[in-house]
């Protein structure tokens, strides 16, 4: 059912709250004596957004004349997005890599991205899809170049702009093909008319063009080239932010796009699973192999995030309820493990100026408490039991058995697991095995420590909620009638 604009506002409250926060941030920024209030107001605002999100109930109603939908998938992913964004905002307060005088603008950019991601996870119209992706991309370009005096940061922003606009141009081209084939931009109407199209060539072309845009957003190989440079150049908090939330939003949009448009009666109408499977194998393998030689922590984690995207794509290549559920399941675990690894990296970078692997030498023995959490996060990223990364891997791999034509992907995936262990534990090796007497122990940053403990302990504590999370997610997907 399609809801008119004015009636939609009531189910758009979290987004409206973000909008208010953006305006307040800009307003307070312009008045010098008010600037110090921005951060407390932001925290208050984020909490109220979370509360509004908590009280908003999922529905299949299509708000704003069919532009957005507030279903359970989008609400769940909004949680993932808001948790990661909120933690990034908290951490940015003490981050020295972002200059003090532009910090409020940086917060405003984060909020605009947040709004864009909220739109991304709930967009049901091709125009809205494009708009949302651009709304995330443009502020992302700005924040990756936010360290004005840092050449690498400027370079990162420029590369990001060029690559991003190129990719979204191709995507727009693909979207226009779909519009031309069907005469509609509403993804629910498109599905019906597309099934009557006999122009396979145009259908495949449009799908692959759109995939370029999505692939760039989630950094799928071969559209990943921006990722390492941007991750390395951008301030580390921005890198941490870019590595999780936009990817979650990108996956949401991919699930919605492929399952609504190209799945008819539970089976794919176009052979996209095979294409995704090939991209998945490429993404995992290339991400991992390129990570092996990296020396910069940010760059290493960038490649590692590419390989994790490849891993999640495994599940996307199989059309079933379990596989979508396992993507969401993995995303939750991925958020915790990747962010906690990044947070420790931020901690070490702020306090010990440790940006390359050799700078981490001996940190494990000098800063034992925080270091244990790094080991935990890295073990989880590598997928070793008893961490959540392992359970996520098992659930993703389990899908392959229902569609045994893709079992070759499973073998590629597990070999990649072994490769990834090597570079993750290169960090552990320098943390623990190499001694460094010259390291001076410094006062710990309280907020950051608490956030690290909160996020990192999820890698072990998931045992308490794993089962219920899975059941919850599965119910959510079943009720959405995607298939």
């Amino acid at each position: 059912m399609i809801v008119s604009n004015i009636n939609s506002l009531s189910s758009y409250l979290p987004e409206l709250m973000i909008l208010v926060m953006i305006l307040v941030t800009f307003l307070y920024e312009s008045i010098k004596s008010y600037r110090k209030y921005v951060f407390p107001l932001l925290c208050f605002g984020m909490i109220s957004v979370s509360l509004l999100l908590y009280f908003s109930s999922p529905s299949q109603f299509r708000i704003f004349e069919g532009m957005l939908v507030n279903d359970s998938l989008s609400i769940f992913l909004k949680w993932v997005i808001i948790i990661s964004t909120f933690s990034i905002i908290l951490i940015s307060k003490n981050d020295n890599s972002i200059l003090k005088d532009i910090k409020n603008e940086y917060y405003a950019m984060l909020l605009i991205i947040l709004l864009g991601m909220f739109a991304m996870v709930s967009a049901t119209n091709l125009l809205m899809v494009y708009l949302a992706i651009e709304m995330v991309s443009i502020p992302s370009y700005i924040i990756s170049g936010i360290s004005k005096d840092d050449k690498e940061s400027n370079e990162a922003a420029l590369k990001y702009v060029i690559f991003g606009s190129f990719a979204s141009g191709i995507m727009l081209f693909g979207l226009s093909f779909i519009y031309g084939l069907t005469g509609s931009t509403d993804i629910y109407f498109i599905a019906d008319s597309l099934s009557q199209t006999d122009n396979q060539l145009l259908l495949y072309t449009s799908m692959i063009f759109v995939l370029v845009g999505f692939g760039y957003k989630i950094s799928m190989v071969p559209f990943h080239y921006w990722t390492p440079d941007v991750y390395q150049g951008a301030p580390i908090t921005v890198t941490a932010f870019l590595s999780v939330a936009p990817k979650a939003a990108g996956f949401a949009i991919m699930i919605r796009f492929f399952y609504s448009i190209f799945v008819i009666d539970g089976s794919p109408s176009v052979d996209w699973p095979n294409i995704i499977a090939i991209f998945s194998a490429l993404t995992m393998t290339i991400g991992n192999i390129l990570a092996l030689k990296q020396n910069n922590i940010k760059r290493l984690l960038a490649y590692s995030s590419i390989s994790h995207v490849g891993f999640m794509l495994i599940a996307l290549s199989i059309v079933s309820i379990d596989s979508i559920t396992s993507i969401l399941f993995y995303l939750v675990f991925y958020m915790f493990m990747n962010l906690s690894a990044f947070f420790v990296a931020i901690y070490m970078s702020n306090e010990y100026d440790a940006n390359n692997i050799e700078d981490w030498n001996g940190i494990g023995l000098k800063v034992p408490f925080i270091s244990i959490f790094m080991v935990l996060s890295l073990a989880s990223l590598a997928g070793l039991p008893p961490t959540s990364g392992f359970i996520g891997k098992v659930y993703v791999l389990r899908n392959l058995f229902s569609e045994s034509q893709f079992l070759w992907l499973g073998i590629i995936a597990i070999i990649n697991t072994v490769i990834s262990l090597y570079y993750y534990f290169k960090i552990v090796k320098s943390m623990y095995f190499i001694e460094n007497e010259s390291l001076e122990i410094k006062e710990a940053d309280r907020v950051l420590t608490i956030i690290i403990v909160l996020f990192s302990s999820q890698n072990i504590l998931f045992y308490f909620y794993w089962s219920s999370l899975w059941d919850y997610l599965k119910n959510l997907i079943i009720n959405m009638n995607l298939i």
Partner: protein, 524 residues
Amino acid sequence: MESWILTLLIFLPIMGVLVMCVVSMSNLSQNKDFYKYIALFTTGIQLILSGFLYLNFDPTKSVLDSPFTVQLDWISSFNIQYYIGVDGLSMPMVLLSALLSFLCIGISWSITKNVFGYFALFLLLDAGMMGVFLSLDFFLFYIFWEVMLLPMYFLIGMWGGPQRHYAAIKFFLYTLFGSVFMLLGMLALFYYAPDGNTFNLIALIEQAPRIEASLWGFDMRFLIWIALFIGFAIKVPVFPFHTWLPLAHVEAPTAISVILAGVLLKMGTYGLLRISYPLLPGEVVNFAYILAFLGIVNILWGATCAIAQIDLKKMVAYSSVSHMGYVLLGMASIVATEPAGAEAGLNGAVMQMFNHGTITAMLFMLVGVLYDQAHHRWIVFPDDYKDKELAGKLAFGGIASQMPIFNGFIILAFFAGLGLPALSGFISEALCFIGGFSAFRVLTIIGTLGILLNAIYFLRAYQRIFQGPFNEKYKDLKDMTKKDLAIILPLAFLTLLFGVYPQPLMNIISSSLTDLINIVQKAI
């Protein structure tokens, strides 16, 4: 009490770690010995508990009827159970790991670097070992199997020898490579189980042979067997996957070498016997010849490599490769047409797992005693030794008179290693050969060469180190201390006892193994 004992065996070490964490935050952490006592106490209780388990263990009862078995739902949406139990196959392994863990705390008493970390990791490793041997749910088994990797990586990498970084990561990557294949095999078993998805190893015994599926033109059961075999073979280690072993054993600190050779290697063969054998008997029959062949290669390859070593610890490490070959040969002979042959072979294999655990523990411990005093363990100095004068010369010589007690024990350990009658190694190796002979005549005859090769390197090493003219450089060497004696006496006692009277060990294992033989023989 009875239903709690297995859970306690697994989680007691973890409780020990928690106590250590509490201690590390209090004033008591000033005294580093405190951690050692906690570890000693924990493993001591564990040893007493496993002794209690042994006394109350009824080998004739199956796992299902045993009062010790615990079966609880853990993750119901994935049908994972907390299912632990003990039978004749796991009982000796539990005893062995409890005993060696306790003794290894004693061996590691001289650790000074980061005491808290060492003993906490050691206890985690201990919990993982117990968990592997007691799990009857594949998922649980897999988790414990992997839990051991991380502590082992740190124990080798932080407290090991000069090449420890490389050894640690090599060990880690090799084992992980194997276990990820095991993971796929496990999921395939779960997914294709005909009566609903399950990880329950006892239920799968009945279900797994009925799996009907194929992939890429291969039978699914064949593929599962291969996947599981890669996982277990790397741990054993079966030639050609053995190259991690000498490195890891040599670089690890003494206690960790003992655990590696004494317990971890057995997990490979234990896994085959616990999972691959009963679940995929048809594949066992098809693979038996290859398994026996690999066993023979292990025996000969390990022994010839050991002959070539000039580092005493490396020689002992290669002797482990060779000795695990006997286990493989005994295991493969389960397909022998005469039931007596199959029984001898399988009993021999499991006994060899236990006996090799005690013998190799003695060997590594004795090498450690020598190394601690002499600060090297060369039999012959290598040609590129830093001291040009000594390069290529005999390193020791005639120290038998200097260390008479040590000499006595080394004779015992070396002779047990080369399989002298009246010592435990002989009985189990003989049984393995009897089994092997009844099933694979030619192979076994070639394999008996291994006995000769074993004798060569052990005797030659003994001669070069302990006999001949006394090397004056070592006149300050002291004999074994009381602590060393206390550690080695139980092991020496078991070696002697099972050499002349193996019945207690046989009694525990034979009835479970008879069940296993019946399962596999039906598939022929």
